[in-house]
Symmetry: C2
Subunit: 610 residues, 2 copies
């Protein structure tokens, strides 16, 4: 057993810095830090946690995720107590340019994942634990510090069920049950049985402790490490503001730094602090991750004009590319027979994880896998990825390398109706800073863009279509992020139609019919919606003066607005055909017509403009 | 006890039509309908359910929500069995123009809420049950049919915890545990104990039954009606495809209509069907909802120039308007002391529901309240409303009348960092068909726009700011949805700056400084981001030729793109200042400067353009 007195000294040091740094910053969450101080001090310096602190990215390190990211003063102070943050750095908390941001981000070397939107850390931990157990096959453990308030987020229970399903005995959650949320008591206060019963019902081993009692804390971590068949939840009774009498257990102190005089009182209460005491974290073994060989992927061989859905090509591409990109891992939310992720699953069952109908956890787990070096492809219906948009948004702050695929885009899915139609996915994914949005129109483009997505470092969104569409590209056609294809161009073109995905085929059909009538139009395949091939668009606008955009997506934030934005100031006229009426059930063609994004609508618009 | 033989006849009729209508449609979910047929037949025609079927909106009717919306053939066939859908209508299932859409929508008179994105029905039920118990004070009960697969959605457990917290004994869930999801077995197959233990751990009364055994089914509803202190979950073991041997309990039949020959075999197995049998649903009592008096709201009295945050004005406005709009109900996700919904809560605790950190369920419950005639205002940080975007998206298909308020918009929140910053909320809410997006810049505008939101029927999003901003409008200033304010205009203006919220104050400051240098600029407050005041924008573009948009939001889908889209083709030059760098912690002013959306950035851009 570790030296309890030393742990108490360290805890005091950490409390000291949590208080002092937040008062210096003038904001922050000291009370939420104090409640978890003993739990985290015991974890890092009590012998359970193994990390080569000189190599924070070392694959054998245990991972520690602060799901309650607002306890960041504690997080940084832990690393001060390990000697990795100086006192001076600690005093830069929350200041512009400091790596010690208000909530942990990768600007700080020991942050495993950015947190601050509650209820996300456990899912990220699931991804890291899946990686350890099934992919890298390394003995590292993943610890996630959870707040009691955030246990009300449904995403937590998604992570709970999936962690148990995959028997992640290398995942340890620690609930800091400090009873108080932001504006008052949580639903359950200090009723620890509620948390225990729920965690147990979700298949977890549970350990209930006093979160301020080091012997219990150390025993809990020791027990947790010995569970072999399931994840472990340590449920710890704590006091918010522990150690400072006038905030301990008191409501009204959430997210409040102490004023200078309050700090002085608090420090007096804390008593003498050994500023020089430093803890030591155990080093892990130096094992290599399970290796995977790589070989060149085979060619593609689609027959021109043959109808194949881009969603099918997505699955085929993943399966084909798997050998060349051994880090590709595929996750799907119980619709793999619709997204066609199942093609990959059949070929590479050891690299596929069924995440069931729980999109938020799927995205968080994908992020966790990405942060351990994998290249996850995460798929569901485009409509249902909206379910996890907070997780998607947050993943950019962790510098994620995750690829999302949303199938069943647009009204062209037909009879299933509006609930199943992805009509805002382009708008959502376009907001991701440095994100990429790709929208292939045929199987060749889909295959090529899946590979571009795999090669690109960052967040990529691929939009696929339910319906079969004819192959229009040769197998050796090259696609690149930020590119487009000018498919029809003639110096007499009266207008250029810009489309992508299913509407590209409508545009090509309109081209043929109008051509027969002696009306030439240009057609551009805008397969890279972000970044946009602005140069080609401007050239087209100059050539014909008028652009018609056509998309199977709501008007806002989609292709039309992207193009209009790019062409603002050029004087080009832009007409945008998009989904503008409440969609309903019907045949794909009926709905394309109804929404005025079909070949008929394009021809009507072109004739109007003549 | 009801006539079991009659129920069996009705169930046979309903199975018949679930099969026949989907084969006619060529798609749909007969197997998922067959598993729940006995459960639903027993509910509607066994005496538990009370509804005046001639008045589907009657406030005393029991509500029935098909959370597993893909069982829509069953849903419609139930109403055929009640005589409200003709055989001919039943055969229009999934056809363009038919009210019998692929998933239930309000096009069908008996649909309480549109479903089809799984895991949402229970939250909607929570809203309806809250209304019955605490607002209308009516004895109607709300029944929600749930699929076993969809129990993996975290949103379900949010609904579970909140329903128990509010002791909603008028809410009955029915899990149709048919063992099979879309692509195979669920995580738990027919292990009913998993569902029972979890529901019990979440505080629900549980009743486990054979879902094909009418006496058990009827007893379960009877028991459920007698529970007084908690919601009830009926967990029913069923067989997917029940009644047709070659699909019953077999994988591979999800979402598949029978082919003609398969249908013939199935109908032979089903045996003779009495096509004329019709069930009877009990009528409810005719009680009046608890009435609320109404009186004119008091005036507002803000002092010009005094700094007040728009989020504070939001809370003040709700509190002030409560008396005039008795249907206003406020929901908040455990941040009411930040969104300032707490001001309303203090004045009107009986019309405020604390929904804890569970945004998805909060939005679903808001929808449920709205569908029972209330005007819910639903608030959290703008960043965290993204958590519930699938629910927000779906609410438009239920013709929701819900008002969302997202506080802490943009980088100007400062030190808390990127995770807390709403930077994509405008883009998200702009995609809502017929949605309204409002973004007040001062307390007067916030007060007025809250009232406009309350008066407007439909989905409205209000974006509020953390920081205090000076009052710039007189108390009698009028604001309207679709309007804007030209705050500075001079015939010599070199450029017009279009801003809203916090950046409007940056624009006004830039105006003063540039004016001192003899450079006149126009300034427009674009408080209505959707719909947009296009006429005013075009007029400004004509007058100055150049527009600068400035927004505390990512560039995509925000104010810049909205304005650029509106002005495409006018030849106006538009320069857009928006958040384009990874945001971090810092003081509000440092971050506005860093992201180049501050007064300094505006002045720099104006000078560049001279």
């Amino acid at each position: 057993m570790a030296d309890i007195q030393k742990l108490e000294q360290l805890a005091k040091l950490i409390r000291y810095w949590s208080l002092v740094s937040t008062t210096e910053a003038g904001s922050g969450h000291p009370s939420s830090s104090l409640s978890a101080t003993d739990l985290m001090t015991g974890l890092l310096f009590g012998g359970a946690f193994r990390s080569d602190v000189d190599r924070p990215k070392h694959p054998n390190n245990d991972r520690l995720i602060f799901s309650k990211g607002h306890a960041s003063p504690l997080f940084y102070a832990l690393w001060l107590a390990d000697g990795k943050v100086t006192e001076k750095e600690m005093m830069t908390l929350r200041k512009f340019g400091s790596p010690l941001e208000g909530h942990p981000t990768p600007a700080f070397a020991y942050t495993e994942a950015a947190t601050g939107s509650l209820g996300q850390g456990l899912s990220i931990g699931v991804g890291m634990a899946l990686n350890a157990k099934y992919l890298d096959k390394l003995p590292y453990r993943t610890y996630v510090l959870l707040g009691d308030s955030e246990m009300s987020e449904g995403s937590q229970w998604e992570a709970m069920e999936i962690a148990a399903y995959y028997r992640l005995n290398n995942l340890v959650g620690i609930i800091d049950v400090n009873r108080l949320g932001q504006r008052g008591e949580t639903m359950y206060g200090h009723d620890l049985d509620v948390y225990r019963n729920r965690a147990a019902a979700f298949g977890w081993e549970t350990i209930v402790i006093d979160g301020h009692h080091f012997p219990q804390i150390l025993t809990a971590y020791d027990q947790a490490a010995r569970v072999r068949d399931r994840p472990v939840m340590i449920i710890a009774k704590t006091e918010k503001g522990k150690g400072v009498s006038f905030i301990e257990g008191k409501n009204g102190w959430h997210g409040k730094a102490l004023k200078k005089d309050e700090l002085a009182r608090a420090l007096t209460e804390l008593g003498p602090v050994d500023k020089d005491v430093r803890g030591e974290i155990k080093r892990p073994d130096d094992l290599s991750p399970a290796s995977r060989t790589s070989a060149k992927a085979g060619p593609i061989a689609y027959a021109l004009d043959k109808p194949v859905s881009t969603r099918h090509a997505y699955g085929t591409a993943l399966d084909r590319l798997a050998v060349q990109y051994p880090d590709i891992i595929v996750l799907d939310a119980e619709v793999s027979n619709s997204t066609f992720a199942e093609i990959f699953k059949k070929g590479h069952p050891d690299r596929f994880f069924e995440m069931y109908i729980a999109e938020q956890n799927m995205v968080g787990a994908g992020l966790g896998l990405s942060l351990r070096g994998k290249v996850p492809f995460v798929s569901s219906f485009a409509a249902f990825l909206t379910r996890a948009f907070d997780q998607i948004r947050m993943s950019q702050y962790s510098a994620a390398n995750v690829k999302f695929c949303g199938s069943h885009a647009g009204v062209s899915i037909g009879v299933d109706g509006s609930s199943q139609m992805g009509l805002e996915d382009i708008a959502l994914f376009r907001t991701i800073l440095d994100g990429v949005v790709l929208y292939p129109s045929d199987a060749v483009a889909a295959e090529r863009l899946v590979e571009e997505a795999a090669k690109h470092r960052g967040i990529v969104y691929l939009r696929t279509t339910r319906e079969d569409t004819p192959v229009i590209y040769r197998n050796d056609e090259v696609f690149r992020i930020g590119g487009s294809k000018v498919l029809r161009r003639n110096r007499r073109d009266v207008v250029t139609v810009v489309a992508a995905g299913i509407t590209l085929h409508e545009a090509l059909a309109a081209y043929e019919e109008l051509k027969a009538d002696g009306i030439p139009i240009g057609v551009i395949d805008l397969y890279s919606v972000k970044p946009l091939d602005v140069a080609t668009l401007i050239e087209a606008a100059r050539a014909t003066g008028t652009i018609i955009t056509v998309e199977d997506h709501y008007a806002e934030g989609g292709i039309g607005e992207a193009v209009r934005s790019a062409l603002a100031g050029t004087g080009a006229r832009v007409h945008s055909l998009a989904v503008r009426k409440l969609p309903r059930s019907g045949k794909p063609r009926e709905l394309l017509d109804y929404e005025e994004i079909s070949r008929t609508a394009i021809m009507r618009k072109v004739r109007e403009l003549l």
